[in-house]
């Protein structure tokens, strides 16, 4: 039988638009300290570490070399995953399954406020020969994807706007979130058009913060924690980076990542076997597109489900009760880490005013943002 692995410690700084008072290393140090206290361990007890970093986002060549100190990982097994935090989580999970150790740690960070040329950096993610010569913003890719998704699914701009209203309102009751606000759909629809149909309010504003998660093998987990949160399934997948050949209407990467995690967790009917989800909503329409891709609702159903309140905290399937990327902020490679953190807080009953009742299983999903087509999914249970 495969070993069972649980999350036994979480730590975070919370998420704010700017963090001028601390360095990126101090952000990680704060999250790490809290995670180790939460798990009741010290860095010396950890067998292996996985950090998450993307050189251009960090502002270093070979940024991973700067990971060990603030995690307590100097002269320990550590490497960096240049992907979504949930891909790092998968890596740390596999380290325990493969017997490298009983305790592993995952770290992720966003110091987006340090990036002065953020737009140019994301433009540099596009193909240099076929796409970059047009000198168009990556938001044009999001605008085109939104248009195609709406065309295929029948979702409306109003339904996308509802996602923004819901998530930003949820964030108001989440002390970790930095972008909570009470607005109505008209405010979203009338905000500045960035790349039609995408408006300014459909786009997650960026945030800074760090998350550290401690994983342990079953026996260790049960001695360390009263409330271990079990990793029941995990999956990840990449579609082609080619804008010319990829699927624009459906998030196939999310579908395949979810199916991989469902298979591992033995889930056949995600809507009834999962209680809630924290999924990537970096742009409003992505929440709807990801819901359909992951079979949480049928094709063409995400818009109406959102419109009728089905994804509210009080709805039949709450989505992003934390406030999501729209309410918490775009954390880049840490986005999946924030989702995992919030699912764990919910399953432990520590989500405060946004606490859901009678829940046993939650889904956390990450996407690496435009122009990527990479996603990862984790199924967690208490």
């Amino acid at each position: 039988m495969t070993k069972r692995v649980a999350i036994v410690g979480i730590g975070t700084t919370g998420f704010r638009a700017t963090t001028p008072d601390v360095s990126y290393r101090e952000l990680t140090y704060e999250a790490a300290t809290k995670a180790y206290v939460d798990a009741g361990i010290e860095p010396k007890d950890v067998d292996s570490f996985v950090s998450t970093a993307e050189d251009f986002f960090e502002g270093y060549s070979i940024a991973d070399e700067y990971s060990p100190d603030q995690l307590g990982a100097v002269l320990k097994p550590i490497y960096t995953v240049p992907g979504d935090f949930i891909q790092s989580l998968a890596s740390a999970y596999m380290m325990i399954l493969s017997g490298i150790g009983d305790i592993s740690v995952v770290q992720g960070l966003s110091k987006a406020s340090n990036m002065l040329s953020l737009s140019e950096m994301t433009t540099f993610a596009m193909d240099p020969i076929y796409n970059r010569p047009l000198k168009e913003s990556p938001h044009a890719v999001a605008g085109m994807e939104m248009a195609r998704f709406m065309h295929e699914s029948g979702a409306t701009r109003e339904q996308c706007a509802k996602v923004v209203v819901k998530n930003k309102r949820n964030a108001l009751d989440n002390p970790l979130a930095g972008h909570g606000v009470l607005i109505d759909s008209d405010y979203v629809l009338n905000s500045e058009v960035i790349s039609f149909p995408l408006t300014q309010m459909d786009i997650s504003p960026h945030s800074d913060g760090a998350v550290v998660v401690v994983l342990a093998e079953e026996k260790t987990a049960k001695t360390l924690s009263d409330k271990p949160i079990w990793i029941r399934g995990i999956g990840w997948c990449s579609d082609t980076p080619g804008l010319e050949t990829r699927n624009w209407g459906e998030a196939i990467y999310a579908q395949m990542a979810a199916e991989m995690s469902y298979k591992m967790a033995g889930i056949r009917h995600p809507r009834s076997e999962i209680d809630f989800a924290e999924i990537n909503d970096e742009f409003s329409y992505k929440e709807l597109q990801h819901l359909e891709a992951m079979r949480i609702c049928r094709k063409k159903e995400a818009g109406p489900l959102t419109e009728t309140g089905g994804t509210e905290i009080t709805g039949e399937f709450p989505v992003n009760p934390s406030g999501g990327c729209l309410g918490v902020g775009n954390l880049y490679e840490l986005n999946g880490g924030h989702k995992v953190l919030e699912v764990v807080r919910q399953l432990r009953g520590e989500a405060g005013k946004n606490q859901l009742k009678d829940i046993t299983t939650g889904l956390a999903q990450g996407w690496r943002g435009v122009p990527t087509a990479t996603g990862a999914v984790a199924i967690l249970s208490n």
Binding site: T18, P20, D21, G59, S61, S113, L116, S117, L118, S119, E120, T123, P128, I129, Y130, N131, P133, L134, K135, E136, S137, H139, A140, G143, M144, E145, M146, A147, R148, H151, E192, V193, I194, S195, F196, P197, L198, T240, G242, L243, E244, T245, W248
Partner: protein, 158 residues
């Protein structure tokens, strides 16, 4: 600082500014070489995988589905296609507001599973729709340099 005063700007606190000067060249590869040489002649080329019945535009030397080698399977795919999706973009690549928005579209080249992301011209945003038939408009032959901008834009087929 008095009790009621707060730092309000990040730059009021110590920070250190740094730049990473980066310059690269990107070799176009063998498939790219074929694509751009033909483009200078006003033609769009793809690469066909016979076993998967898939034609890639821009062409590649390999099939992403069956991993077959496609190097000798180039084909002229014509200059016509349909608008697969489109947007009117008001933001420049550096995040500033454009003086004049552009219409950007993913154009599915007829008879292929690939396409070209490019501008739409000789039309208005409100008149564009998904499924609209369009054709490539090339720069004058003397101005072509062997790049994606040898196509000026795509325009509706009247």
């Amino acid at each position: 600082m008095a009790l009621i005063e707060r730092y309000q700007k990040t730059t009021d606190i110590s920070y250190w500014e740094g730049q990473i000067p980066m310059s690269y060249i990107y070799t176009v590869g063998r498939a790219g070489e074929k694509f751009f040489r033909e483009m200078m002649n006003g033609r769009i080329f793809g690469a066909k995988c016979e076993s998967c019945d898939v034609t890639y535009v821009p062409p590649r030397t390999y099939c992403e589905k069956c991993f077959a080698r496609l190097e000798d399977h180039y084909a002229d795919v014509g200059g016509k296609g349909t608008v697969h999706t489109f947007t009117e973009c008001h933001e420049a690549y550096d995040g500033t507001k454009k003086q004049k928005p552009s219409i950007v579209a993913m154009i599915r080249i007829e008879g292929t599973q690939g396409g070209i992301v490019h501008w739409l011209g000789e039309t208005h945003f409100k008149d564009v729709y998904i499924g609209m038939s369009v054709e490539a408009v090339f720069k004058a032959k003397k101005d072509r340099e062997g790049g994606i901008l040898d196509i000026k834009y795509f325009r509706p087929i009247k």
